[in-house]
Symmetry: C2
Subunit: 132 residues, 2 copies
DNA sequence: CTTGACCCTGTACCATGGTACAGGGTTTAT
DNA sequence: ATAAACCCTGTACCATGGTACAGGGTCAAG
């Protein structure tokens, strides 16, 4: 069972222009077309689009996601220097997890101080993330 | 000891236009001026700008950082609904940390498969993040 | 007393990641 | 056989978060 562009877009919670945009940017493969020239997608594209969206939310740019998808697509060009690329990203993620943990603790602290304006204002937000 | 705009920018690794931009967007308070009308910043602004940059890298928009800074600025308007705002953000961060952990594991797996093209191509990237 | 390195305001421009038509064809339901 | 609901391509436009002048003032060093 193949999907038309609107069906795909709905399943991925993006709109159809975004699907076309991803195609133009080579983030998803060119789909086959039916007799009328309509794009017909494989079901696997749903997961691929969701993956792209989530990676973006995690802080990867579309260019970076494209690079990483080189592995999925068995593309030797994009797989070149993959080790270095991945090592770099891994380090960034590590640091990010660390800071997000700290930020989470601040937010929990902050919540505990609400709604008392007085307590709230004493919450050390900046200091938790930035040290001298 | 007060800082001129370029000094502040250098200490924060941003450029001076960004500082002016943040001022326009009310992310940093209007600095005092010297006799020539030059902006003179308190040293505490360094940490504030660094905080803004890092929060952005962690996935917060400047509007969200602005809201959060309401606590630091003792601003009752921005502190309204702070509990709900923070609860929402906390949930997002939680999910993000989770997915980043998973992504980190994928990247480590991926690294271990390099440079063998054959092994590399078998790495399940999308599946680790997106389930049916 | 001028050259270089600062600063000012204002406005234009840029990249990223979309979003929204316009102008036209197809397909299904009535 | 015609309206509604799809699809197509192409191009314009949008928000966010800056970045880069232009045109002009200030100040310290030689």
């Amino acid at each position: 069972m193949r999907l038309q562009v609107s069906e795909l877009a709905n399943l991925c919670s993006v709109n159809k222009e975004t699907i076309r945009y991803y195609e133009k940017e080579n983030l998803i493969p060119e789909p086959s077309r039916n007799q009328s020239g309509y794009r017909m997608y494989e079901e696997s594209t749903v997961k691929r689009v969701k993956f792209i969206k989530r990676m973006q939310e995690l802080g990867f740019s579309l260019r970076e996601v494209h690079k990483l998808l080189g592995v999925v697509d068995h593309d030797d060009v994009r797989c070149k220097d993959m080790y270095d690329f991945v090592s770099e990203k891994e380090k960034e993620i590590e640091k990010k997890i660390n800071d997000l943990e700290r930020m989470k603790d601040v937010l929990i602290d902050l919540k505990g101080r609400c709604p008392s304006t007085k307590d709230l204002h004493e919450c050390p937000i900046i200091e938790t993330l930035i040290v001298d």
